[in-house]
């Protein structure tokens, strides 16, 4: 096991820190002590795997969960899950959740005065295919206010949760929409120092996946940590 290759560590600046004073919820939740560096062992290079038995194939269409069409603009969100070595990650679970078109989550703690939509739960999941592709049909989420600072509004976003092949590749993130004027003012978006890394969270408008007379397409590729070429040094 001494020669077990680990997963690559993030490039400097491409991942947020835990403490970001402008993101107020981090102030009392970010650890004050430095993290302890841990080389990867069998515990980190393995992780939960989910197969077809874990998935409802209909859960990739968030517009078909009620008795009628949800309100809002229908969109297609698709992309690939790759690792840092550009290898597609097939059969990995992608979970998403989001606000409805009015900017309201179907959650008891969401007190935003906006309407709930009986035909929209805002959650979905899918397994990637052999080429690492996923595809969701959903509704463009609305922007919504939050209490972080005066007149704070979150840009429209969709939450993503991805497992990948190992405990070390687990990722939760958020996808944004191109041209959203709120993005430059969002402390959550701005937590990442590296501008290019930050901007990769903004999906691309995609003619190829746009369905004529039906739905606009947005492309969002996700990259998980890649395997080190050489074994870890202990």
């Amino acid at each position: 096991m001494a020669s077990l290759p680990g997963y690559r560590r993030p490039y400097p600046g491409t991942q947020p820190n835990h403490l970001h004073p402008l993101y107020r919820s981090s102030l009392k939740r970010a650890p004050a002590q430095p993290l302890i560096y841990l080389p990867h062992t069998l515990s980190e290079v393995t992780g939960p795997l989910f197969g077809a038995e874990s998935v409802d194939v209909k859960a990739c269409d968030l517009t078909k969960q009620g008795h009628g069409d949800p309100l809002g603009q229908r969109i297609i969100v698709s992309g690939r899950v790759l690792d840092e070595n550009s290898r597609p990650l097939s059969r990995t679970l992608v979970e998403i959740w989001q606000a409805n078109s009015a900017g309201r989550y179907l959650h008891r703690n969401d007190q935003h005065h906006a309407t709930l939509d009986p035909n929209f739960t805002g959650c979905g999941h899918a397994l990637t295919d052999d080429e690492g592709r996923y595809r969701f049909v959903t509704i463009r989420p609305g922007e919504y206010p939050w209490g972080n600072h005066y007149n704070a509004w979150r840009p429209a976003h969709i939450h993503f949760s991805i497992f990948g092949p190992a405990f070390a590749t687990r990722l939760v993130t958020q996808m944004y929409f191109p041209g959203d004027p709120l993005i430059p003012f969002d402390p959550i978006f701005n937590c990442t120092a590296d501008e290019k890394a930050r901007n990769r969270l903004i999906s691309l408008f995609d003619w190829e996946t746009t369905i004529p007379v039906h739905a606009l397409g947005y492309r969002f590729d996700i990259v998980l940590a890649g395997r080190d070429a050489t074994p870890m040094e202990f």
Binding site: M1, A30, T46, G47, P48, E95, R170, V223, A225
Partner: protein, 191 residues
């Protein structure tokens, strides 16, 4: 071509609508061998207040020290239906509870066994990246030689070791203190 891993973001306060489906607190169904245990605790913030919107994920080997994963090439068996994965959101009091079996020792660096442990991810509003930690077990002689525990200041190691709950056989208490006095040790494993 070399890519860079996508930037992590917080799960936010409303993750339960998307992540509840896979939630389950029992990691070891009938037919899974091993010592039955329950692990319960709370997630607390830097003011000692409960964190009611955290998500805990566990990853562990079975009682033989074998992971249900193809990278684990040890010639040991995994019970049908054993996944070793658990997920629970905290409740309004910041509490969580899992039932499972105590994992066996798994190989570590240089082929030396690691002390039995469970790998843990903590997600929450306010945490732009998950926090990674481990649960170790009380009265476990192997803890003394464990390579991960030995990377930790002895004064802080106790935060990684679950405690027996008096009068409740098999019940262990293990808390996540995000910040401040008694802060849990968190590991840097990359993302």
């Amino acid at each position: 071509m070399s890519l860079q891993a996508t930037t992590s973001h917080t799960v936010g306060p409303f993750f339960s609508i998307g992540l509840t489906r896979l939630s389950h607190s029992d990691l070891a169904g009938l037919g899974v061998a091993g010592e039955r245990i329950a692990i319960e605790g709370r997630v607390l913030d830097g003011d000692g207040n409960p964190v009611p919107d955290a998500l805990i994920e566990l990853w562990q080997a079975n009682s033989h020290g074998k992971y249900a994963h193809p990278e684990d090439k040890q010639e040991k068996s995994v019970e049908t239906g054993f996944k070793g994965y658990g997920r629970q959101p905290t409740d309004d009091a910041g509490k969580f509870r899992f039932t499972t079996i105590k994992p066996g020792p798994v190989p570590g660096p240089d082929g030396k066994p690691q002390a039995p442990h469970i790998a843990v991810s903590v997600f929450a509003r306010g945490l732009q990246r998950r926090l990674v930690t481990r649960i170790y077990f009380p009265d476990e002689a192997a803890n003394a030689a464990d390579f991960a525990l030995n990377r930790v200041d002895p004064a802080r190691r106790g935060t990684l070791i679950a405690k027996k709950v008096a009068g409740q056989a098999g019940v262990l208490e293990w808390n996540v203190i995000l910040q401040g006095a008694g802060e849990t040790v968190f590991f840097d494993i990359g993302l």
